[in-house]
């Protein structure tokens, strides 16, 4: 039984993936690119979309997972090593969103800078979420989409009256070189492709799947770009002062009304989606650790959560330095794992039509099962595991 549904992947791309790009990223972009902030974002979105398309073509030709294909082509050791590296990458990819979320939460949801204890329970949730199945991850996307759609639309509509879109002019005012640099330094925010790499083989590829997924990605990209446009249109030259863009753009419509900052309720709704988005790289890190070492998922989840908690505590007083390091120094790592590895997988692991693996309908071939899954016993209930559809 496949763990994910194509619809859930679409919802992830349309709603959950973009939300992590709406916190500090807009201010960072406007600092580097000024009014040309849309272009570096667009290029990264196109690059990521292209890699996603290639991964979909990979999924089309196989029922295996990425690690299953790797196991077949390069051997068990290579598969485990890659899994370990990918796990480390996902842990790294989770750091910046967590730090951003920490700042966002402590500044927007609280009025006097509270203790880190107010943020720490997130790691307990990450542990819990990391220990759940991919099916549960997929289902949270079904919940996240309507929340995101409603809250995002309302915030954007509230911001529109204050937006002066001429602030985005002149186009290419900063020069291509600066934009290229900005695009490279933005790579830590574009980690959708390696996630998709892990999803390959865990969902059933049906006819028309690629179109749906790409459409969903395009919607997510449009949401990101429209947010960036409105953000800069509202703030113009003081954009890079607005560190928590999501909570800033809509306040002008509500701040002086009798109801007050009612937009904060929608910001809280989006914070929920943000929490779900933070769970994705963590869950995939756990998935990769399972591929690398086997063993109980809960243990891997505990290790990852504790590790991330430690890193967040360590970097707590040094967000700027951490962000600068990850974006300006570590961008090659993000390029390699974020684009390079998925690209290589899509190009070189793709099965030819004649060699497409035919498993039993609905059953994942044994080679593709993670070490943990291979040893899991069926439910004692009826002798077979009674599982629901996605």
């Amino acid at each position: 039984m496949h763990k994910l549904n194509v619809r859930q992947i679409c919802f992830w791309l349309a709603a959950v993936l973009p939300v992590s790009r709406l916190i500090v990223y807009p201010a960072t972009l406007s600092f580097r690119a000024g009014n040309d902030l849309l272009w570096p974002a667009l290029w990264n979105l196109i690059a990521e979309g292209t890699v996603l398309l290639l991964l979909l073509l990979l999924a089309r030709r196989t029922r295996r997972t990425f690690f299953g294909l790797l196991r077949e082509r390069a051997g068990e050791a290579a598969a485990r090593m890659t899994a370990l590296l990918l796990a480390l990458f996902f842990a790294l990819a989770a750091v910046l969103p967590l730090l951003e979320q920490r700042g966002f939460v402590l500044q927007i949801l609280y009025e006097n800078v509270p203790s880190f204890l107010s943020f720490a329970p997130l790691f307990a949730l990450l542990l819990f979420a990391g220990a759940q199945s991919l099916r549960a991850l997929g289902r949270t996307m079904d919940i996240a989409l309507p929340i995101f759609a409603l809250c995002f639309m309302i915030l954007l509509l509230l911001a529109l009256p204050d937006a002066d879109f001429s602030a985005l002019l002149p186009v290419f005012g900063r020069g291509m070189g600066e934009q290229a640099r900005t695009a490279l330094f933005s790579l830590p925010w574009y980690t959708g492709a390696p996630c998709m790499l892990c999803f390959v083989g865990n969902f059933e590829y049906k006819e028309g799947c690629a179109k749906k997924v790409l459409l969903a990605y395009a919607i997510g990209a449009a949401a990101t770009l429209s947010f960036l446009a409105v953000f800069y249109a509202v703030f113009a030259d003081i954009s890079f002062l607005q560190h928590n863009a999501l909570a800033q753009i809509s306040k002008y419509a509500t701040a002086l009304t009798p109801l007050g900052r009612i937009d904060l309720l929608f910001v809280i709704g989006l914070t929920l989606v943000l929490v779900i988005s933070a769970c994705v790289p963590v869950r995939l890190c756990v998935h990769c650790l399972g591929e690398a070492f086997g063993g109980p998922r809960a243990l891997h989840a505990a290790i990852v959560s504790i590790l991330l908690l430690g890193v967040t505590v360590l970097l707590n007083p040094a967000f700027r330095e951490a962000q600068t390091f990850l974006s300006e120094r570590m961008w090659p790592v993000f390029a390699l794992f974020g684009y390079g590895l998925p690209l290589l997988a899509a190009l070189f692991l793709r099965e030819k039509k004649a060699h497409r693996s035919h498993g039993i309908e609905g059953k994942t071939p044994r080679k593709d099962l993670s070490a943990a899954d291979r040893t899991r016993a069926p439910s004692p209930e009826t002798g077979r595991t009674l599982r629901a559809e996605n």
Binding site: P114, D237, L256
Partner: protein, 401 residues
């Protein structure tokens, strides 16, 4: 594993309950919190600041009263806010601060020396209204309101979006003022607030100032009810700023013309004087702006600012007794009155522009427009843009039918 999970859950529950019942970790005790509704900043000696905070003081019935607390002679606004806490024992929260008043003296230097505290702080929203006071901010905040409002509430009404719609007030918030300051033009404007004393009345609200000086700690925060004069606030004049310093003042008519041409005003009232025969007749018109635009064009390497305004007018009143026919046809404005209104509007608009440009204030954001819409000509023209720009007005008033 399950045993461990159970123990972990028990521990987490215990910790949660401990946090809950001990009530610590970043809490605000609302009873010890001073809800600041407005901040007034005046210039003190030697470049310091006198900061007045208007604090809402709820009584048991929930009625609004306010108390003003002034901290004098601090080097920075942030220091003054911190001192509010030290001297009064209250923790000031600025999240409901919706008004920042700048005393007249602060405008002699760069007002952003004071204002950037609010831009740095995550807890003060830059949606708050900003205004320049004709006198001092402390006096303005200490003024009474004839209808019992807090001074800050009364001022906020004068500076509200509804007031903006009438065109008599150039409403701006901190964000817009900061955008202008940091833009290419480095200019901005603020409404100038004057308190016009009305009548003496007893039991007006609005507060008694308590001073908390630097050297002595009186710490006073009196409760708000006192007999005193009640004032009406007027903000029909507009102060122009360049690089944070006050450079010029637009009069009421100039402010109205500017708002009708540029800002979000779509409907206003204005007077037009015409000569009918040998008599001077003043018509009071209601003006509805239909379409308006302002474009910066480059014509023959010279910048031209084109205003295009289409409006409809209706006679509301005149200082002569009208005939039955005139009264019945009040919606129809005579042509000569329309032309006079156009002339008047253009005159005031040009006067506002001239006044601004003469002092270097880029009131119409011309440099920004040049940069955005004509980036190739920007380098060549931006230095003398304000002096070189030619203004053309295409203003057409029609009668409302």
């Amino acid at each position: 594993m399950k045993k461990f999970a159970r123990k972990a859950l028990l521990f987490a529950t215990g910790l949660l309950l401990l946090l809950f019942f001990t009530n610590n970790f970043g809490l605000i005790d609302i009873q010890k919190t001073a809800i600041v509704t407005a901040i007034g900043i005046d210039a003190a000696e030697e470049g310091g600041f006198d900061v007045t905070a208007q604090i809402a003081v709820p009584d048991a019935s929930g009625a609004d009263t306010a108390s003003n607390v002034t901290v004098r002679g601090t080097e920075t606004v942030g220091e003054a806010i911190a001192e509010l806490n030290r001297k009064t024992g209250w923790f000031p929260t600025l999240v409901h601060c919706s008004l920042i008043l700048l005393g007249k003296d602060t405008a002699q230097e760069n007002v952003f020396r004071a204002l950037d505290y609010f831009l740095r702080s995550e807890y003060v929203e830059d949606s708050c209204l900003v205004a320049l006071c004709e006198t001092t901010a402390a006096e303005t905040l200490g003024a009474g309101s004839p209808i019992g409002d807090l001074a800050s509430a009364a001022i906020a009404k004068v500076l509200s979006a509804e007031a903006q719609k009438t065109g008599l007030v150039s409403v701006t918030n901190l964000r817009d003022f900061a955008k202008g300051y940091f833009s290419e033009g480095e200019s901005g404007f603020l409404p100038q607030l004057s308190a016009l004393p009305q009548a003496k009345s007893e039991g007006g609200s609005g507060g008694q100032s308590g001073d908390s000086g630097n050297s002595s700690s009186a710490g006073g925060s009196g409760s708000g009810k006192s007999g005193g004069s009640s004032d009406v606030f007027d903000a029909s004049r507009t102060a122009l700023f360049v690089r944070g310093q006050l450079t010029a003042l637009l009069e009421t008519e100039e402010t109205l013309a500017y708002n009708l041409a540029v800002s979000g005003t779509d409907m206003a009232f204005g007077d037009v004087t015409v000569y009918e025969g040998d008599r001077e007749v003043i018509y009071h018109l209601k003006i509805d702006i239909g379409k308006k635009s302002q474009k910066l064009q480059i014509k023959g390497a010279l910048p031209v600012l084109e205003f295009s305004i289409r409006a409809q007018a209706q006679v509301v009143d005149a200082n002569k007794a009208g005939t039955r026919t005139e009264i019945a046809a009040t919606a129809i404005v005579p042509d000569h009155v329309l032309r006079a209104a156009e002339e008047r509007f253009e005159k005031e608009l040009r006067a506002a522009a001239d006044k601004a440009h003469a002092t270097g204030c880029d009131l119409f954001a011309l440099k920004q427009k040049l940069h955005r819409f004509h980036p190739k000509e920007y380098e060549a023209l931006q230095e003398n843009l304000l002096q070189d720009v030619r203004i053309t007005c295409d203003i057409r008033f029609e009668t409302m039918r």
